[in-house]
Symmetry: D2
Subunit: 135 residues, 4 copies
């Protein structure tokens, strides 16, 4: 399957006073998986990185089962759902092999942090995203 | 208008390396507004609190404009969209008077943390939620 | 008394799975008080801000009593202990009028984020720090 | 050497608006290493865990070099410095093989979360701590 997987280590501090990994922390896990997935297409210099950034424009997440702290990482699977001129959609599953904790979709906009404006996805970025889309 | 408003103070650490309040932090702001809004219907003893808890079952958030750190709080407006037997929906606007940063909806499930099972909303909880719904 | 006070609002998510405001979060409260205190001497443009930044070089904190989440802010008092050519010391008390939760000292270095080198405190910065030192 | 090492994975969100891993986050890294180190002596049931908890009573940390986000974990080394009836001291180094980012000491108190009182370290806990002390 054409997806990226980051086995995301939990932190004890990710749990809230209810003893569950807090709902907002799931967005951190998704961000961390996405950051690692995109390392190869991100500019390596600060100026290029700011001109060719990405920002989250929309997020939808369904919490399916409570996740509690443990030593073992939780898998964050990421795949491309669709891609347009200046944005794309990623779908996520946060899960163990036999248990789904959450599934989510984010719309990500290609964004120039210096001008504060949307930008077009480059050919390299589109090719990169295509590698993680299901046939 | 029948809504609850929490003027939520920002923290410098809410901004990420891009200099914007991070997308996951918006869920913290919503949680904080909700926590304060619900203080009056929450059980005050730990046992009651765990038996009559709430958990986020679904969240959808649209980011409309970048929010940067400043001294002034940002308003988090919360209102009830609908209410069912064991869950309800809240809608949020995170905004200044003249600028909308994000709008969101969460489905919240009434939940017993000790049994790990859904529970029914009480009459008091339903009456409380009704106060924040638009006519 | 020559000190700066920020009444720091708590967040429910500051509590950890033990139900106490987490020890690391106290450093956030101190950072937030410091950030607000220093607003008037900080450069307002991004380039000036990076050239005239401050970084924490050392922190010592004593936790005196557990702090639990509540609606009311907790006071963070900050005063200057001493000031040298390229660094200074701040002392903090995190407390209610009648209860001390933590006291702390941080050594702060004047730092140029762009060169990664220490810098000298300006006359304005030294005058600012002197205003918060006890006679 | 008698020490515990946790190769702690960084998160992009650990960096602050200055682009460095935030000073407060180092306490999270230390907490995470400590939590994993202590798994084998911690009670596995919630009641035992609360009666036989640990809390940070004092922390001192020296920041030696800026740490920036990268894919590779950073090593958190932990060793016992000393141990008394109801508390003990741990020393930490947060480092790569060739670069020290921070060193720290925490005083940890043995604590009963339900009574809010200190408790005595058990023989098992003392034996566990002795394994990580230098000869």
């Amino acid at each position: 399957m054409n997806r990226y997987t980051y086995p995301c280590p939990l932190r004890w501090s990710d749990a809230d006073a209810n003893g569950h990994i807090n709902n907002a922390v799931f967005l951190r896990y998704m961000e961390e998986a996405r950051t690692r997935m995109f390392r190869e297409v991100l500019a390596t210099d600060e100026e290029g990185r700011r001109r060719n950034a990405f920002v989250v424009a929309r997020a939808t997440i369904d919490y399916k089962a409570p996740l509690t702290y443990r030593d073992e990482p939780v898998d964050v699977h990421v795949r491309t759902v669709k891609s347009a001129g200046a944005s794309f959609e990623l779908a996520y599953e946060i899960r163990d092999a036999d248990r789904l904790y959450a599934e989510a979709v984010t719309v990500i906009a290609a964004y120039n942090l210096d001008t504060g404006r949307l930008r077009r996805l480059s050919a390299d970025e589109r090719a990169f995203l295509a590698r993680y889309s299901s046939p």
